[in-house]
């Protein structure tokens, strides 16, 4: 048998079922007597609901119930909660307007749910939903981030003044002002970070079920964190105790953040199933996904760097306007604050940083974490700004980075924006990426491209992220309304095979493989004797779920903790069997041995003894071999790296093609290098999507223009080059595995590398900045305007 432990590129065991159509996704589940829910959504961006006449709909064939927001309100159904309280500069709490499950009084974005029709068949529910007669009074709407704060702007929530959710800041303003005052030069950049639609392959779905005999509610849902949904929905929305609410997130076809949040439909089907005493299923159509899944990013930012005469960074000042959409999605408020501004040091030793973030409401789909979440916005800002500094000063882009990087001997490194980086070596990833990309050979490739009539450019980004979210006490002090530990249960069966119950949730990441490798390696048992169980609150002790590249760093660490307990107990059993002292028992490669002797017992023998305790220290030790652990991380983890992109531009059409892409990352210890590489590939594909193709667009009237794949440009394989990936390893110092996480770095590091490459390709046109996506039209308009004459000429 090939080596299948830590460090082996074991093929993903879950792919067998995913690729052969045998996955068990929420929509694959059908409960006896199941009804179907269709949500009627607003097609108006902002309107007062004068009346909803449900009579005609209720009389349609097969219809069992029609509910509106007032019905839910009357039944004491609460609003959808926000999980993170942000405080304003003056210490007052953010504006937290109600987020009703079904709209009451007003609708606030196209897609806002306002009624649900439940019928025997999906078709009947659809037919009936069309019969709902709604009388509207249209209101002026806000469709862009900047418009939200314009004087006299319409109010998304009548009692949220100026549409401002919060006006928050971080850092030392005085120190920054002082540094700016004595700076040799200040370089300023205005940029936007475009709004994205996540588009997981599997649309969201939810099934509510209710057992009259036990009073237990069950929700099957497309979630990245079933326990969090149970907590939020049970405690805040439906008032069901955990003991009577089971949430199952079975196979989930991609999340990218968009399936973290507690969504209205989950509460609707759970509540309605209880009311009707029958299961209720809802499955999103793709069109619904575009207007009801939380969107990502959407920042408008001004950044200024103060530098000395040699280009050393002295201070950074950032002002960001962040779009929350129409309501606060579960973690929306934390993204442009604690996952963004705290990352503004990047990999640089900038001594003083001050960031101001104003979050605003608009008549658009709520915005929340999307793969990377805040960190791509920070990395994009810093890496664009660094290239603009090079442009404005004439300094070399790579030299500028080298000179400002945090030195490899400076760890642990305290940034001026709260985080303390535990380990890293940014020089190593930078130099390794430059080498892999043959940075120095670029002029020859540019000349060769020019000979073909193409413009070729090369771009670099040196990024960092904070993952392994998060130490609970720190998060709590910053406003989180939850702890951010992870739980694991390790159940050793009598013959020594193992079931692992993890609070992490796999929705494409390959946990069933990576975690099994980890457990097999640590317990010294065969990989195929480890089962990974996740996604069911009835089976798993507890869990905070998967996001923020936390599963291995936090969830994996919880497993290690539980395994340590297993091994400790195993040692006591072994000591008893071999008549030795516990202190003399060593555990290695799956066997317990007495130090300095040839006496040993296999892991399986110990497991069997635990369950057949005939010869057992029964007075001191319980039988059985099963342990729980909760692991609360001591710090964030800090994956970092360097990406280098090369692009070629067709002068005639402005079409950019990514012709080469190198990513060298430090994700700490690699458990399964193939899976890490796959995560990098997927993330980079999404990053290239943001840089060149994707953008959620609303027109001035508040309608979404990119409401389908006919207009929303997802990256496809022919938009992407073959990626070259590499790793440099510095271990995380505060978790037992030394791992850092790899799920998001692709979307964080790649957009600036691509944009920097395009801008470099356009160097003869003297372009300073172009906002994403860098569409052929934008590029062509620069080429068409012709090379700029230098001012001196």
């Amino acid at each position: 048998m090939a080596f299948e432990g830590i460090g082996a590129s074991v093929r993903r065991t879950e792919d067998q079922r995913f690729l052969s159509g045998r996955g068990n996704y929420t929509d694959d589940i059908n409960r006896p007597g199941q009804l179907y829910a269709i949500i009627r959504r607003s097609d108006r961006p902002h309107a007062r609901i004068v009346s909803i006449d449900t009579k005609a709909a209720a009389e349609m064939p097969g219809v069992v119930a029609v509910y509106t927001g007032t019905d839910l309100q009357a039944d004491n159904v609460g609003g959808l909660p926000c999980g993170w309280l942000i405080k304003n500069k003056d210490g007052t709490p953010m504006a937290e307007p109600p987020h009703p499950v079904l709209a009451v009084g007003k609708v606030r974005h196209v897609g806002d749910p306002l009624a649900v029709v439940i019928a025997e068949t999906r078709q009947q529910a659809k037919d009936a939903a069309e019969k709902l007669a709604i009388e509207w009074q249209d209101l002026p709407s806000i469709s862009s981030t900047q418009d939200a704060i314009a004087p006299g702007a319409a109010l998304v929530h009548d009692d949220v003044e100026g549409n401002v959710c919060y006006d928050w800041h971080l850092g030392d303003k005085e120190a920054v002002d002082a540094a700016f005052a004595k700076a040799a030069r200040v370089v300023r950049l205005d940029l936007t970070n475009s709004r994205l639609i996540p588009n997981a392959m599997e649309p969201r779905a939810a099934i509510g079920d209710f057992d009259r005999a036990t009073g237990e509610h069950t929700l099957f849902t497309t979630s990245q964190n079933p326990h969090v949904i149970r907590l939020l929905m049970g405690a805040f929305v439906l008032h069901i105790p955990e003991s009577h609410l089971r949430v199952v997130a079975p196979d989930v076809g991609g999340g990218f953040g968009s399936k973290i949040y507690h969504y209205a439909e989950e509460a609707i089907v759970t509540w309605a199933a209880g009311k009707l005493g029958r299961p209720v299923k809802w499955t999103a159509e793709r069109t619904e996904s575009f207007i009801s899944d939380a969107h990502g990013r959407d920042h408008v930012t001004t950044a200024e760097m103060a530098i000395d005469k040699d280009g050393n960074y002295l201070a950074l000042r950032v002002k960001t306007l962040a779009n929350m959409g129409a309501y606060l999605s579960t973690f929306a408020t934390s993204i442009p604050t604690y996952l963004y501004a705290t990352l503004l040091a990047g990999v640089y030793k900038t001594p003083a940083i001050y960031a101001e973030v104003k979050a605003v409401f608009t008549n658009t789909v709520p915005v929340d974490a999307y793969r990377g979440a805040g960190r791509p916005e920070a990395a994009y800002l810093l890496e664009r700004l660094t290239d603009v500094i090079a442009h404005d000063t004439g300094l070399d882009r790579v030299a500028l980075r080298r000179q400002n990087l945090i030195p490899a001997n400076a760890f642990p490194y305290q940034t001026p924006v709260a985080l303390q980086y535990d380990s890293g070596n940014y020089q190593a990833t930078l130099e390794s990426a430059l080498k892999a990309a043959d940075w120095n050979g670029f002029p020859a490739r540019r000349a060769a491209a020019a000979a073909k009539g193409k413009l070729r450019g090369i771009g670099i980004s040196t990024y960092i992220e904070a993952c392994g979210i998060a130490p609970s006490a720190v998060a709590g002090a910053l406003g989180a309304r939850a702890g951010l530990y992870e739980a694991a249960n390790i159940r050793v069966h009598p013959t020594g095979s193992v079931s692992v119950f993890t609070g992490s949730h796999s929705h494409g990441q390959g946990h069933e493989t990576t975690f099994a490798q980890l457990v097999a390696d640590q317990l010294g048992i065969p990989f195929n004797q480890v089962e990974i169980v996740h996604g069911d609150t009835e089976k798993i002790p507890f869990g905070m779920g998967t996001y923020g590249s936390r599963s291995l760093a936090v969830g994996g660490s919880a497993m290690v903790k539980a395994m340590d307990k297993i091994i400790a107990k195993g040692k006591r059993i072994a000591a008893h069997l071999m008549e030795a002292s516990v202190a003399d028992i060593e555990f290695k490669n799956g066997s317990f041995s007495v130090a300095g002797t040839d006496k040993s017992k296999s892991f399986g023998e110990i497991a069997l003894t635990a369950y057949v305790p005939h010869n057992y220290p029964i007075d001191e030790l319980e039988p059985g071999l099963e342990e729980n652990a909760f692991y609360d991380p001591k710090n964030f983890t800090f994956p970092a790296g360097c990406m280098v992109a090369e692009v070629e531009i067709d002068r005639d059409t402005g079409v950019p093609s990514v012709v080469s892409f190198v990513a060298v990352d430090d994700v700490g210890r690699l458990i399964n290098p193939m899976i890490v590489e796959g995560q990098v590939h997927g993330g980079v594909a999404q990053g290239i999507g943001q840089a060149l193709l994707e953008s959620a667009t609303y027109d001035v009237s508040g309608q979404i223009v990119t409401g389908s794949f006919m207009d929303y440009t997802m990256p496809r394989s022919d938009n992407l080059p073959s990626f070259k990936t590499g790793n440099e390893v510095t271990l995380c110092t505060h978790n037992p595995l030394g791992v850092k996480g790899c799920g998001e770095l692709g979307t964080i590091g790649s957009p600036p590398a691509i944009v920097n490459a395009v801008i470099d390709a356009l160097s003869e046109y003297d372009v300073r900045h172009i906002d994403m996506p860098l569409s052929p039209q934008k590029i062509w308009s620069i080429v068409a305007a012709g090379p700029k004459r230098k001012a001196a000429e």
Binding site: T697, T706, F709, A784
Partner: protein, 264 residues
């Protein structure tokens, strides 16, 4: 989707009869356009009359004409040795429509009857001066396209085939819409019995159109240089999030020159 009845007649005559008897009935070809429209409940036909068994698929070449049955799929046209030999540009165009799945379902008849202003086939039909044959008559390309999603077809009238005169040379160049991959701008250039014709799809507010200034110039000299300075007025071109009218006008020139170069 709303409920409808489904029929699969074994001849064009039966199909025409079914469609004639029920003004709410609709013909179904590959369903690549119609089915999504039905799924979104944007159309409510009483019946679908599937043309799959009506004997409308097939390709024949005779007397300098390539005749393609209405139910011939894009994949069949793309892979046809006859089409590749007679009008390689047409085979290439068909091979560039949508994706593999779409090409194996979508048909030339469906594409033309639908007349999407960003579809590819209309450019070939117009530039090659093809004739659209129906159960009633033959319609010249110049008379067939009448604006966005508007053709000369009468209610219940079915396309049975399209006849393409074999050109001396021809080429199609498509600048795909980055999201939908339909034509943002597509230009078909052909030199044949009827002289030089240049048809532009994707760009015009009224669907496919002929770029007559380019035709005149290429008629004198079939070269890229001949059309280098010919601009396409932007005022009747589309503007959307992917491309403004000015950019589209520019792309018409680029695609036309590339098509001329490819045609040789």
């Amino acid at each position: 989707m709303y409920d409808f009845t489904y029929q699969k007649p074994a001849s064009v005559a039966d199909a025409v009869k079914l469609l004639g008897a029920d003004p709410e009935a609709k013909a179904l070809a590959g369903g690549m356009t119609l089915i999504p429209v039905l799924k979104q409940r944007l159309n409510k036909p009483s019946a679908l009359v599937d043309l799959a068994d009506a004997g409308l698929a097939g390709i024949s070449v005779a007397g300098g004409t390539v005749r393609i049955g209405a139910m011939t799929t894009h994949a069949t046209v793309a892979n046809s040795a006859d089409v590749k030999k007679a009008i390689p540009a047409l085979a290439k165009l068909a091979g560039g429509i949508g994706d593999k799945e779409v090409r194996h379902r979508g048909t030339i008849g469906g594409s033309l009857a639908n007349d999407d202003p960003t579809a590819d086939y209309p450019a070939a039909v117009l530039a090659l001066g093809a004739t659209v044959e129906t159960n009633k008559r033959s319609i010249k390309a110049d008379d067939f396209f009448q604006g966005m999603f508007m053709t000369a077809l009468e209610p219940g009238e079915l396309i049975t085939a399209v006849s393409f005169p074999v050109p001396e040379k021809a080429a199609y160049m498509k600048f795909p819409n980055p999201a939908s991959r339909y034509a943002l701008v597509g230009v078909f250039v052909a030199k044949g019995p009827a002289g030089v014709r240049v048809a532009v799809t994707g760009a015009g507010q009224n669907g496919v159109f002929r770029q007559k200034a380019m035709e005149a110039a290429l008629g004198k000299s079939f070269s890229q240089a001949a059309i280098a300075d010919i601009a396409t007025p932007a005022d009747e071109l589309n503007s959307d999030i992917h491309a403004g009218a000015e950019y589209r006008a520019h792309l018409v020139g680029v695609m036309a020159r590339r098509a001329v170069a490819a045609a040789g």
